[in-house]
C-alpha cells in the first residue's frame, strides 16, 4: 500500500482537514473532537482513525483519556507536497532560459 497516497487522500476530505485545523492549537480527546462536529461520533472517530493511521496524528494516554495532537513532522511533509511539482516546473523553466540565452 502506498502510504504517501493515503496521506493525500486523508487531507482531501473536508472533515479530516477540519480535524487537523482543530488540533493545530491544542490536543483533544476523541469525544471533544466529535463534539465539534454535527456528524455522528462514530463517523468522526473513523476520520480520526484514518488520520492516525497516516501518522498525521499522535496520541498520549493521560489517565483514562487519550489525547490526540498533530504530528508536526508528518504535517510538514504534507505541506511540502507541492515541492515535486515545483521542481518539475523549475527544471523546465531552467531549460527554457538556457536555450533562449543562447539567442540573446
Amino acid at each position: 500500500m502506498n502510504l504517501r497516497r493515503d496521506v493525500f487522500q486523508a487531507i482531501a476530505d473536508p472533515t479530516r482537514r477540519a480535524i487537523l485545523l482543530l488540533l493545530a492549537s491544542q490536543s483533544m480527546t476523541a469525544g471533544a473532537i466529535a463534539a465539534s462536529f454535527d456528524s455522528a461520533r462514530s463517523t468522526v472517530s473513523k476520520h480520526i482513525h484514518i488520520l492516525a493511521e497516516c501518522d498525521l496524528l499522535q496520541h498520549d494516554q493521560q489517565g483514562r483519556e487519550i489525547y490526540y495532537r498533530l504530528n508536526p513532522e508528518k504535517m510538514k511533509e504534507v505541506l511540502d507536497f507541492v515541492e515535486p511539482f515545483r521542481q518539475m516546473w523549475e527544471e523546465r523553466f531552467d531549460k527554457l532560459e538556457s536555450i533562449l540565452k543562447k539567442r540573446l
Binding site: 504517501r4 497516497r5 493525500f8 487531507i11 482531501a12 473536508p14 482537514r17 507536497f81 507541492v82 515535486p84 511539482f85 515545483r86 521542481q87 518539475m88 516546473w89 523549475e90 523546465r92 523553466f93 531552467d94 531549460k95 527554457l96 532560459e97 536555450i99 533562449l100 540565452k101 539567442r103 540573446l104
Partner: protein, 154 residues
C-alpha cells in the same frame, strides 16, 4: 537561496499559480510559447500543431521511456503577443479532464521578465492528483531504473 519558480495554492482551492522570473527580455521569453522549434526543445516534445491566435490550437506528442506515445492538446482563447495567452490543456487518453491556463507575461526590466501561469482544475481532487503526478512519475522512473539495473545483473 531565492527560489526562481514559486507555486502558490490553497489546500481547499482547485487552482494554483506558478510564478517564474527570467533573465530574458519579455519578447524573447514569449517566443518559448510561440515558436515550434523552441517549444519542442524546452518541453521535450514533438510539436504536431501550434496555431498561436484567437481560436487557434496546439497538439504535442511525447514518447515515454517505455516507447509509449502521449498526446497533449488544447485550444487558444486569447492571444496578445508579449502579454498573455489563455488556453486549455488536456492530456489525451487519460482520466484527467481538461484544465484552463492563464499565462501572463510581464516586462520587469530590459533584460528581465516574469511569467505567471494561473491553472484552474475541474476539482480540488484533480488538482491534488496533478500535484502528485511528478512524484508518481519519479517513482516510476526510479522503478524503471531499478529494473534496468536488475536485468543487467541477470
Amino acid at each position: 537561496m531565492e527560489r526562481k519558480t514559486q507555486i502558490h495554492t490553497e489546500p481547499d482551492k482547485q487552482d494554483l499559480l506558478i510564478t517564474r522570473d527570467f533573465d530574458l527580455p519579455v519578447e524573447l521569453l514569449f517566443t518559448a510559447f510561440v515558436e515550434p522549434e523552441i517549444v519542442a526543445q524546452w518541453m521535450g516534445t514533438k510539436v504536431l500543431k501550434l496555431a498561436c491566435q484567437r481560436h487557434g490550437a496546439y497538439l504535442f506528442e511525447t514518447t515515454g521511456p517505455d516507447g509509449s506515445i502521449h498526446l497533449f492538446s488544447g485550444v487558444i482563447h486569447e492571444f496578445v503577443p508579449n502579454q498573455k495567452i489563455t488556453r486549455t490543456f488536456e492530456m489525451e487518453h487519460t482520466p484527467f479532464p481538461v484544465q484552463l491556463e492563464f499565462l501572463e507575461f510581464e516586462k520587469t526590466g530590459d533584460h528581465s521578465s516574469r511569467l505567471r501561469m494561473h491553472i484552474v482544475y475541474k476539482s480540488l481532487e484533480y488538482k491534488n492528483q496533478m500535484l502528485r503526478l511528478p512524484f508518481a512519475q519519479g517513482l516510476n522512473l526510479a522503478h524503471n531504473r531499478l529494473q534496468e539495473i536488475v536485468q543487467k545483473r541477470i
